[in-house]
């Protein structure tokens, strides 16, 4: 049974938009945060709130890969095996994790702690090979480091993204995606090291973009 608070929050999401149906994607994220997956009840409730059919909602829920119809683990581990990460070691990491956790793609460990899938490019190619845990970045992984991460998570230890934030549970992450911030935006640094390499070189060599005043002056001269 989805409680009244969640029902109110689902309506609150729909109300953010000029047309309520626009709220469906974040609403389904909220359903996952309370139900642990997309449930028939969650689908019916979204359909009721939006005044559309359950089939319409199902059609959307089955289109997007982040929506899960079976329960995932408390920690959902995604190994990038798109070409760049695969070549840099993602394939080896994925094989090692499957073996270590004794699960296949899109499966969950018996203790319900870890689920594993291979994911497509997650926009961190300069940190390849990349593993995502509950959609936080684990940059520059090796098979050994990835095994350490899942072992620590299974043991209940606190694990941090390589870019700072403490890894929360999958359900907690889904709530943030639904548009209910958890107040942790300040965790971690502004950028990981690879994001800063060009800037570092520019600083070291004294390179900058052109001076705005000079550009304006020469521009005005051109104009005359």
């Amino acid at each position: 049974m989805i409680d009244q608070k969640t029902q109110d929050e689902l309506r609150e999401i729909a109300a953010r938009y000029p047309e309520a149906r626009s709220g469906l994607l974040p609403m389904l994220h909220l359903v996952q945060s309370v139900e642990g997956r997309i449930t028939p009840e969650g689908i019916e409730l979204c359909a009721d709130i939006l005044g559309i059919s359950a089939a319409d909602v199902s059609g959307v829920a089955t289109f997007y890969t982040m929506y899960k119809r079976r329960p995932v683990g408390d920690y959902h581990v995604g190994v990038c095996t798109n070409t760049l990460c695969a070549v840099m070691g993602g394939d080896a990491i994925f094989e090692r994790l499957k073996d270590h956790l004794a699960v296949g793609n899109d499966e969950t460990t018996e203790d319900g702690r870890i689920s594993l899938e291979h994911v497509e490019c997650n926009a961190a190619c300069d940190y390849a090979p990349v593993v995502m845990v509950n959609w936080e970045f684990m940059d520059n992984q090796t098979p050994e480091s990835a095994v350490q991460v899942v072992d620590d998570l299974r043991a209940g230890k606190e694990v941090h993204s390589t870019r700072g934030p403490r890894i929360c549970t999958w359900r907690e992450a889904e709530r943030v995606l639904a548009g209910f911030p958890d107040g942790r935006a300040d965790d971690g640094p502004a950028a990981g090291p690879a994001s800063l390499v060009g800037l570092g070189i520019a600083r070291e060599r004294g390179w900058t973009a052109p001076d705005a005043h000079l550009a304006v002056t020469s521009g005005q001269e051109e104009g005359q």
Binding site: P18, E19, R21, L24, L25, P26, H29, L50, F63, Y64, M66, Y67, N82, T83, L84, V87, M88, G89, A92, E120, C121, A123, A124, C125, D126, Y127, A128, P129, N134, W135, E136, F137, T142, R163, P165, L177, G179, P181, D182, A185, D186, G188, A190, A191, A194, S195, L196, V197, G198, L199, I201, A202, W207, T208, A209, P210, A212, A215, S218, G219
Partner: protein, 435 residues
């Protein structure tokens, strides 16, 4: 030697760069007042004059796109930011939003003012939790400081911004599929015309721009369009973030004027991995045809890369050295396109499936040389025959890899399998073979 020009990346190393306090401390939100002192059409004109072209891959002139919004249309106008960065190799918008979300928010306000939109949406792919936290916080802070809401800075201009998380679908980077997702539907592209400028979100006039395009706007307004167009090349003005990944010594983000070359960028990145040579690379993500070492001096601008037979795309430079099998790389990309095909149109839905069948067999050394022609024939039946550019992108790695590495495909057939050792390509491979 082209020098780097940090503008968008300039504050990424600042202490707590993502906060309003840090952004304002270095002049943030001052471009907003300058924009409000201008008429909206003058802002559009300035962006047109700057020569800014869309940074999401297609390179359409941003100011011209804004100018297409029919201002006599009585419906509300909308600005939608495409923050669905998913093109394989592309990794610039995500660090931008993580490090300096206020640059994007200020850009959203100025751009919305220019096109006269009172509601804007930032559609961020769902798989980047901390980035979404940072953008949510930036929007909250901007409201609290009076940069968003009603009568912003006393200008009489009102703007509301909604941060919207996607749910996993590469296709939603295609602008009309993104609109479908934002309307709560399956992300399948729409037939055009009508174009979004006329009938976009809720069938209303809509501008959809990439994160980096919108984030470039405050600097153009603050420093003037002459400043922006003083960088770059004749038809590709300004700076852009170049993302180097793969087999270079120092992968990362390098912000430079358009027209810099890969040779220059690789030199800045410390060269190719020790003891190896450049084999092939993508100039702008996997949907842009592969190039090779013979293209090291191609100017990385829209015209230069186009003339070399590829596309500038998103400046996602994925670098592969001589340990990498091009057939393995191509097969993996093809599997990606098959997985991400939305299924709406037949050439893409069926075609990408068949491409994977034929390529998988070739990669295992099965089939015959005639299968290469079969592959090219399949590509010919897909390219330009689909609803959107996803399918065009899907054939790019195949046709370009056969063009440059036909012998390598044949070596798979004659050798009965892949001649490469995949363990030699990994990030840690070099450490194990030291003398």
């Amino acid at each position: 030697m082209t020098t780097l020009t940090p503008v968008l990346t300039d504050n990424w190393g600042d202490e707590r760069a993502w906060t309003l306090a840090a952004y304002e401390a270095r002049g943030g939100y001052q471009a907003l007042d300058k924009a409000f002192a201008m008429a909206p059409d003058a802002v559009i004109e300035s962006v047109k004059e700057s020569g800014l072209r869309g940074r999401g891959g297609a390179g359409f002139p941003t100011g011209m796109k804004w100018g297409f919004i029919p201002q006599d249309n009585p419906k509300p106008k909308y600005l939608v930011v495409n923050a669905d960065e998913s093109e394989p190799g592309t990794c610039k918008d995500i660090p931008l939003m993580m490090a300096s979300p206020h640059t994007l928010v200020e850009g959203v306000i100025i751009s919305s003012y220019a096109i006269r939109a009172n509601k804007a949406f930032i559609y961020i792919r769902g798989e980047v939790l901390h980035v979404i936290r940072r953008v949510q916080r930036a929007v909250e802070e901007a409201y609290a400081a009076g940069h968003l809401g009603t009568d912003i800075h006393g200008s009489g201009f009102d703007l509301d911004v909604v941060v919207h998380a996607g749910a996993g679908a590469y296709i939603c980077g295609e602008e009309t599929a993104l609109l479908e997702g934002l309307e709560g539907r399956r992300g399948q592209p729409r037939l055009r015309p009508p174009f979004p400028a006329v009938a976009g979100l809720y069938a209303s006039p809509t501008v959809i721009n990439n994160v980096e395009s919108i984030a470039s706007v405050p600097s153009i307004i603050a420093n003037g369009h002459h400043w922006f167009s003083s960088m770059g090349t004749e038809k590709s003005k300004g700076f852009g973030i170049f993302s180097l990944s793969g087999h270079v010594q120092t992968p990362g983000q390098y912000e430079a004027p358009l027209g810099i070359t890969l040779r220059e960028l690789i030199e800045l990145a410390g060269g190719i991995r020790e003891g190896h040579e450049l084999k092939f690379w993508t100039p702008g993500g996997s949907s842009t045809p592969l190039l090779t070492a013979e293209h090291l001096d191609v100017p990385l601008d829209f015209e230069g890369v186009g003339a070399a037979g590829s596309m500038l795309g998103t400046r996602a430079l994925q670098i592969f050295d001589d340990t990498t099998c091009v057939v393995r790389a191509t097969l993996r990309w093809t599997e990606f396109y098959k997985h991400e095909s939305c299924g709406k149109c037949t050439p893409c839905r069926e075609g990408t499936w068949w491409l994977v069948q034929v390529l998988s067999a070739l990669e295992k050394g099965q089939g015959s040389e005639a299968d290469l022609d079969l592959l090219l024939d399949q590509c010919d039946n897909i390219l330009g025959r689909s609803f959107c550019a996803l399918a065009d992108g899907a054939v790019s790695p195949i046709t370009s890899s056969i063009k440059y590495f036909r012998d390598e495909y044949i070596a798979h057939l004659t050798g009965g399998g892949c001649p490469f050792d995949p363990s030699r390509t990994t990030a840690w491979a070099g450490q194990e073979v030291t003398a």
